[in-house]
């Protein structure tokens, strides 16, 4: 649990935010210049706010009114920065063990090996930093932070310096870390779909102000959040399992949800992942149409029954949260929402063109 109340003023920029998290992984989203990195630096102890407090897992790290300001090296907060910031004069192994706690624990070696294994760093240990690639460097930086046994992990745009293809190669490692470790994590990014692949809990910042925190599917109903999110990667990120391929039609059949808890089937353009593999797909909210009854005949391949959980009207659009077994955010025009009487509890059919479903990771 992280509680931070922060006020900082620096040459024309003001950061004023009260944040509170109670889940394992929380994404901090906002356009560039929103103050995300400033917030991270303040929590890490690299920047001192004018006033406020920072409390992590019950421990007060900073409190201006009580004169508490724990120096960065005593905060036990691991940070992965946008630039790898690895030590160029040390080997990969030297970097990894730099922050390793003194040998008070017997399982130090085992823990080290687990993290090496988790991030697949075994082959790199003897290399110098100049001899490894950008993606490998970020993996080493992540490993270095984990090995220091932090009580909080801050990931500040760790993928921003990588190209799209590399990003998708690193995300599975981040997901593994999320699934294996219990360390509370704040994940900062200006790319919403990146965050949504790790968590649906968000803190949204804009121009130094907190404009929303909570579950993504709840936040998008708020107009201030919607305006910020809408053109910056707003989408549904869903996990699915490949059921089979139908090469003659050029499509694959996916099962939404997990194997034990199937939600529904989706027809998508054929993907390379083998049958049984788990993949991540993305659907933009405005690529989904709503109908009160299944439509026939129609070219749209996917017609999924669901129930409207919530619908909010905005200037020209309506945001509809449909429960199809998993939440699906749909955007329709305000006019359609009114005409269809989209109120909570109404059964509805979601129409998704298979070509509107993008395979973004896994498999």
């Amino acid at each position: 649990m992280i509680r931070a109340s922060i006020h900082l003023q620096r040459d024309g920029f003001t950061l004023d935010a009260n944040i509170e998290t109670d889940t394992h992984v929380v994404g901090i989203f906002g356009p560039s210049g929103a103050g995300k990195t400033t917030l991270i630096n303040i929590i890490a102890g690299l920047l001192r706010p004018d006033r406020g407090s920072v409390v992590v897992e019950g421990e007060t790290l900073f409190d201006s009114s009580r004169g508490i300001d724990l120096p960065a090296h005593r905060r036990r907060i691991g940070v992965v920065f946008q630039e790898h910031r690895l030590f160029p004069h040390l080997s990969v192994k030297g970097n990894l063990i730099y922050g390793q706690p003194r040998p008070q624990r017997d399982n130090r070696e085992r823990e080290f090996l687990q993290i090496i294994d988790l991030l697949e760093l075994g082959d790199l240990l003897k290399r110098r930093i100049s001899q490894i690639s950008g993606g490998e460097r970020q993996r080493v930086a992540l490993g270095r932070a984990l090995i220091s046994r932090p009580s909080l992990l801050l990931l500040d745009e760790p993928l921003a310096s990588l190209d799209q293809r590399l990003k998708q190669q690193i995300i599975p490692y981040l997901q593994r870390v999320r699934d294996v470790s219990a360390i509370p994590t704040l994940y900062v990014s200006h790319d919403l779909s990146e965050i949504l692949q790790l968590t649906d809990r968000l803190i949204v910042l804009e121009r130094g102000r907190l404009i929303g925190q909570g579950r993504y599917t709840d936040l998008v109903h708020d107009n201030a959040v919607l305006v910020v999110v809408h053109d910056r990667g707003m989408r549904n990120v869903l996990n699915a399992c490949v059921v089979r391929h139908e090469p003659s039609d050029g499509v694959s059949v996916l099962q939404l949800g997990s194997v034990n808890d199937p939600v529904c089937q989706l027809i998508v353009p054929q993907c390379a992942a083998p049958s049984g593999a788990t993949v991540t797909i993305a659907v933009q909210p405005w690529d989904v149409a709503l109908a009160t009854e299944p439509v026939h005949p129609v070219s749209i391949q996917n017609q999924i029954r669901g129930i409207v959980r919530r619908c909010t009207l905005h200037e020209s659009r309506a945001i509809v949260d449909v429960d199809i077994g998993t939440p699906l955010i749909v955007e329709v025009s305000r006019r359609s929402a009114v005409a269809l009487e989209l109120t909570a509890g109404r059964p509805i059919v979601c129409l998704i063109k298979s070509n509107a479903i993008r395979h973004i990771g896994g498999g």
């Binding site: 102890g45 690299l46 090296h73 905060r75 910031r85 690895l86 160029p88 004069h89 110098r128």
Partner: protein, 230 residues
């Protein structure tokens, strides 16, 4: 072949220079760090003080040292009366004179090197639980090593060649304070000393060139090691 006197001048010079470098190492790194990384009142004054020996006539530096550390000097008087230590006109004086004269070269080079160390990497080290002290010795110093080393070699070479401050503060006592340059000067003054002077000149050149080449080779290896060149 050089005579015993000439060998003694060479040996003395090396000893004096090594001591001078050792004397200035810690204060030099300290000053360089202060100037590179800290903001404080009187920073400009420190900067000027450090660089003064570079622009003052060496004789002036020697004379000031004599005023401070001579037997009747401010500090020298206390050292003589209290501890029975005499500094002026001993090899120690030669080492101190050389250290003061070489100091700006060490500080300049080290300061530049420290300024080039990415503060963000030091920050990363702090988030990994490293105290500022440990960060300095495990990150800042290793990453500024090529510049520090270059500064040390420059200061060492400068110490080998120090003349004005040395002859003023330490004098010209054979076997005690007659370093290479002082010896060369002395041989030039006496009839028939040309051959000796030439031999010492040759030794000086060989020494300086070796030091410069050595430092360049080491600096390149270090730069490669710390990844500033790939």
């Amino acid at each position: 072949m050089p005579t015993t006197e000439e060998w003694s001048a060479l040996y003395l010079s090396l000893r004096v220079s090594l001591w001078s470098v050792m004397l200035m190492l810690l204060p030099g790194i300290g000053c360089a760090w202060l100037l590179a990384r800290r903001k404080f009142r009187g920073k400009l004054l420190l900067d000027v003080l450090v660089h003064l020996p570079l622009v003052l006539p060496p004789v002036v530096v020697g004379y000031v040292l004599l005023l401070l550390l001579g037997r009747r000097g401010l500090i020298g008087g206390w050292l003589h009366d209290g501890l029975g230590i005499d500094v002026a006109f001993t090899w120690k004086a030669a080492a101190i004179a050389a250290a003061v004269m070489g100091f700006p070269l060490l500080v300049r080079s080290t300061r530049l090197a420290i300024e080039l160390v990415d503060v963000r990497i030091e920050q990363a080290a702090r988030t990994l639980g490293s105290s500022p002290f440990r960060v300095f010795f495990t990150v800042t110093i290793p990453l500024s090593m090529p510049g520090l080393l270059a500064g040390l070699v420059l200061a060492f070479a400068r110490s080998l060649g120090e003349f004005g401050a040395t002859i003023t503060f330490a004098g010209n006592i054979e076997g005690v304070t007659r370093t290479l340059p002082v010896a060369i000067f002395t041989y030039i003054q006496v009839p028939g000393g040309d051959a000796s002077a030439m031999r010492l000149v040759a030794i000086s050149i060989v020494l300086s060139v070796t030091a410069l080449i050595g430092s360049e080779v080491v600096a390149r290896r270090l730069s490669h090691r710390i990844g500033t060149t790939e």
